[in-house]
């Protein structure tokens, strides 16, 4: 088409004008874009830079090594063990099934765990390491490392896990650790970030639980750069974790092992206490259980076995178990009467075998009676009637006050999971709890440690220690935390008249060393290691008048759970008391026959620091003792103190 010159000029001019308008729009838009750039990149740069860092940097927690627990001599009771495991990264493995099959030829793989691992692998992102096998031996781990070329994506790793080298011996003292449950978080309200670390374990029981915050340490952090998928690209820096504080207990591992061994086969509890300082040297409850089972995750079968055992291995009988203390309570009655000044210890009381109070008859354990008894004889032969008599005179309030002074019926605060308060009854207590007035019969029952009176081995051990030294020793079980002593100051004197204590001591000496003493069979032949004590046999059933008439059924003829509890408290050496011990054998029968020999062995072991030699025993018992010591599960050599510590963790 032809166009005139004018048309062309007009067209060009118009295009020029409009082009300039468009160009203006370009520049304006460019200006807007530049302004936006400036706003984002200059004015808000700081905000976005922070957001970018948040995007990029991920903080990972590093678990602290848990504090170690030692006995008083430095024997390791709770340590951290290197735990070898192998992990698999799916994306590096390629054919997961082929790799697992190859792996199964090298190490023993648990089929159940393997199935779980397979599911985990399928569920997690391909770059996340999944644990295939745990707690491998060093040999197995080496085998995996050697075969690495055939196992793409498989990495041997080292972590820490709790181990209790003494096994069951310290289950009732040290306790155990376990995984962090929702229940635990709810109960404790603990918000420590370290709890979020997968597989982190916290103390669940006893010292492990009660000293959790000292043992735990604090988490370290590792800053890593991650990509949008969450995969770690590199580590930027790390703040190492603070390991938990080491804890030293007052307990002696060798003695503890001996006590647990000596109690084995029975349902029993025992406490050995240093009567000068109150340090607990052994605190045992039998049967016991292996705390390592709980660390690894206890199987249902094992759990049910522990839970359904009639001997209740999970209960700590030494501190939680409450028993009528029986005749071991008689020293309290005696000292209460002496301190009250209402009896003359030389004065005798006639024992015809029973005492009638109102229309009730209270029997002495010896049906035929003891004849005339003074205080020392009454203690030695455990004459019930004598104590019925003086208890009536001194009254329950004075007896209970004395019981509490001596540490019975009060709570001893030890960092263990179950500490029973026990019961030293008062008149008011009965009114409030039983809705009935206190009657004289209650006092008589209390005077021989029956009726309402309840004590644990811990109570009785403290009582014995205080009687032995006359000092208000406080039981303690933590010697030091992180090297700082936790022991209480020297115990003050309780202010008992030395002469009064002397009567008690003599009575207790005769228990073991007088021919008529209830525990004469459990005497020690070498006077340097001489033992003073008191037996106790506490009924768990009422003996009816009819049964008494036809003859009391012997313990051996009763079912186990209805037999009497056997008790014994004692201290040694007599001349310079150092160790106090209380033993309770649940439904064991008689205190003199069952509990006293155990306590004698324990006290000898405590004094000698080794399994006692046979020369200390009465000649006619030596063969049995020899066999006993051969059969008991005692460590062949005392545990060796070790300073081995595992600290750093990758």
């Amino acid at each position: 088409m032809k166009r005139t010159q004018k048309d062309t000029t007009d067209s060009a001019r118009q295009i020029g004008r409009r082009s300039l308008v468009v160009g203006g729009l370009f520049v304006a838009t460019g200006g807007v874009l530049a302004a936006r750039m400036r706003y984002l990149q200059v004015e808000r740069a700081e905000d976005f830079r922070m957001l970018a860092e948040e995007n990029r940097i991920n903080i990972r927690l590093l678990p602290p090594a848990r504090g170690l627990i030692f006995d008083r001599g430095g024997v390791l009771l709770a340590g951290n063990e290197q735990n070898y495991r192998i992990t698999l990264v799916r994306e590096d493995a390629g054919d997961v099934d082929a790799v697992l099959a190859e792996l199964a030829r090298i190490v023993n793989l648990d089929m159940v765990a393997l199935d779980r691992a397979r599911q985990e692998i399928a569920r997690r992102p391909p770059f996340v390491p999944v644990t295939i096998a745990d707690r491998l031996s060093w040999a197995e781990l080496s085998a995996v490392a050697v075969n690495a070329p055939a196992l793409p994506g498989v990495t041997p790793e080292v972590g820490l896990s709790r181990i209790y080298p003494m096994g069951g011996d310290f289950a009732h003292v040290v306790g155990y650790v376990g995984p962090v449950s929702d229940y635990y978080l709810e109960q404790t309200g603990d918000t420590d970030p370290v709890l979020q670390i997968p597989d982190f374990q916290v103390g669940r029981n006893n010292v492990e639980a009660r000293l959790e915050h000292r043992l735990r340490g604090s988490a370290g952090t590792k800053r890593v750069e991650v990509n949008a998928g969450g995969r770690i690209m590199r580590e930027l820096d790390r703040d190492p974790p603070d390991p938990g504080a080491d804890v030293q207990l007052t307990v002696d591992a060798g003695l503890q092992n001996y006590v647990e061994a000596r109690l084995s086969g029975e349902s029993a509890g025992s406490v050995v206490i240093d009567c000068q300082t109150g340090e607990i040297l052994a605190l045992a409850s039998a049967p016991t259980y292996d705390p390592n089972l709980f660390v690894r995750g206890i199987s249902t079968a094992s759990w049910n076995a522990l839970n359904n055992d009639a001997y209740r291995p999970l209960a700590n009988k030494a501190t939680q178990g409450l028993y009528p203390p029986g005749s071991t309570y008689k020293m309290i009655v005696a000292l209460a009467a002496l301190e009250a000044g209402i009896i003359n210890p030389e004065e005798t009381v006639g024992c015809p075998g029973h005492m009638d109070v109102g229309d009730r008859r209270f029997h002495c354990w010896r049906r035929g009676g003891h004849g005339r008894m003074d205080l020392v004889q009454a203690l030695a032969q455990s004459c019930d009637v004598y104590f019925y008599d003086i208890a009536q005179r001194v009254g329950i309030e004075a007896i209970t006050a004395m019981a509490r002074r001596l540490g019975c019926g009060v709570r001893h605060d030890l960092p263990l999971s179950g500490i029973a308060e026990g019961l030293a009854p008062t008149m008011e207590w009965k009114v409030q709890n039983r809705g009935a007035a206190w009657v004289v019969g209650d006092t008589l029952n209390a005077s021989i440690g029956q009726g309402f009176v309840l004590s644990s081995p811990l109570h009785l051990a403290v009582m014995t220690a205080r009687l032995a030294t006359g000092r208000a020793v406080q039981p303690s079980i933590i010697r030091s935390v992180d090297g700082v002593s936790q022991l209480p100051d020297a115990a003050p004197d309780m202010g008992f008249a030395p002469a009064h204590l002397d009567y008690i001591h003599r009575g207790m000496w005769q228990v073991n060393n007088d021919r008529r003493g209830t525990a004469y069979a459990s005497r020690v032949e070498v006077s340097d290691f001489g033992i003073a004590g008191k037996t106790g046999t506490s009924q768990v059933r009422n003996i009816s008048a009819a049964e008494r008439a036809s003859g009391v059924i012997s313990n051996d003829d009763l079912p186990w759970e209805r037999r009497d509890h056997a008790l014994y408290v004692g201290y040694a050496p007599y001349t310079n008391p150092r160790y106090a011990c209380a033993v309770i054998v649940e439904h064991g029968g008689g205190g003199s026959a069952v509990a006293a020999p155990i306590a004698r062995d324990i006290l000898l072991r405590a004094q000698l620091g080794e399994v006692p030699p046979l020369e200390l025993y009465p000649t006619n018992q030596r063969r049995d003792i020899e066999r006993l010591h051969r059969e008991l599960p005692i460590l062949p050599t005392p545990p060796v103190p070790t300073g081995r510590t595992v600290r750093s963790q990758a």
Partner: protein, 379 residues
């Protein structure tokens, strides 16, 4: 007067044409492409072979294509306009039925060595046919309704086809590019005022229709609009792109983190980091200085195009160059606005920088046309 009436002798011919190329424009184009290579090298984590190398090869091919197109007289291209337009519309129809679909948008034809997206091609052929139409049209008729309707149909057909793909971004580009040619050609102001007014009405209608059976846009398109209006609504879902791209961009600061030091793109926080969102990497690594420099390069390219268009006395050439300039402008302006949170996320690449074959080749051909116009103008 049209070219055929000029004295062709005074336009350069033969190898002399090379001297008459707009070398400044070529320099700018190469500069922008080099920025692209650098960024592709960086987002690949220092790997040349992943994206940078194929991109260089394509650019080399595009560069040759540009020179070839530039050597051919502009009137030849005018004569080819209708044919090119027809072919590209046919291709659009073809891919509608036989094309491969990727990532929910932009159908392509696999040519073996590259994937041809007919919608990219259409951006240029539409401009060509419109320029040719206004070159043909008598000046006095240009604002008559009937002659306004014809270019509207020319624009409407490919726009509709791309919208069907569905590719809202390209459809908008076609619409706006075509409209810009009509505007430069001198169609009366009133039409544009009416279009803007009805456009506002259409936007209102689009929003009003949401959720009703006669809903005008696809659900995902509505979601994109929602996300654009408030990206923080859904930071890990649909808003992720915008939020992350602003974080990367903003964290660049004045001078950026330095080449290859951009953390957000390297760690995959950025989506489409080598294609539509490559600008964020540039902004993160070179900061405001780098981002503004690229913007300046783009604006300079536009300035050179506008100068060429205004200098030219041929109607077709001027309109074509302006149309190409507008298309180019829309590319980078929409892309930048998108990554900076000023526009919704529509799949528009950053011209000459984003990884991608079709767009690069089509742009180079377009610049070839600009060069052809530049060479073949009466002096």
């Amino acid at each position: 007067m049209s070219f055929l009436e000029y004295n062709v002798k005074i336009t350069p011919s033969g190898w002399r044409k090379v001297l008459y190329l707009n070398w400044a424009l070529i320099l700018l184009i190469v500069a922008v492409a080099c920025v692209g290579f650098l960024m592709l090298y960086s987002v690949a984590g220092g790997q040349l072979s992943r994206w940078a190398e194929p991109q260089m090869k394509r650019f080399a091919l595009g560069f040759v294509l540009m020179l070839v197109v530039a050597m051919v007289p502009i009137w030849f291209w005018r004569n080819m306009s209708a044919l090119a337009y027809g072919i590209s519309v046919l291709l659009l129809v073809f891919v509608e039925f036989f094309g491969a679909v990727g990532m929910g948008a932009q159908r392509w034809i696999d040519l073996g060595f590259m994937r041809l997206q007919p919608s990219e091609l259409t951006k240029i052929t539409l401009v060509m046919v419109l320029a040719a139409y206004y070159d043909w049209l008598d000046l006095s008729k240009k604002s008559r309704p009937l002659f306004v309707l014809i270019p509207l149909v020319l624009i409407g057909v490919p726009t509709f086809l791309t919208l069907m793909q569905p590719d809202l971004g390209t459809a908008l580009l076609l619409l706006m590019g075509g409209g810009a040619v009509m505007f430069v050609a001198g169609v009366h102001w009133a039409y544009f005022a009416a279009v803007i007014a009805s456009g506002a009405g259409a936007v209102a209608a689009v929003f009003a229709s949401r959720g009703t059976p006669w809903q005008l846009l696809q659900d995902y398109q509505y979601r994109r609009i929602d996300t654009f209006l408030d990206p923080t609504n859904d930071p890990l879902g649909a808003g992720y792109h915008i939020t992350q791209s602003q974080i990367a961009l903003g964290s660049g600061g004045w001078t950026g983190r330095g080449f290859m030091e951009g953390t957000q793109s390297r760690l995959n926080f950025l989506p489409e980091k080598h294609t539509d969102f490559i600008f964020t990497t540039l902004a993160e690594e070179f900061g405001f200085v780098g981002a503004a420099s690229l913007l300046a390069l783009y604006i300079l390219i536009l300035v050179f195009c506008i100068v060429t268009a205004i200098q030219h006395r041929d109607r077709f050439a001027s309109l074509l160059v302006m149309g190409i300039a507008v298309a180019f402008f829309l590319y980078f302006a929409i892309n930048m606005a998108m990554v900076m949170g000023l526009a919704p996320v529509v799949g528009v690449p950053l011209p000459l920088v984003s990884y991608g074959g079709s767009a690069m080749l089509v742009l180079m051909v377009a610049f070839g046309l600009v060069q052809s116009a530049h060479i073949h103008r009466p002096r």
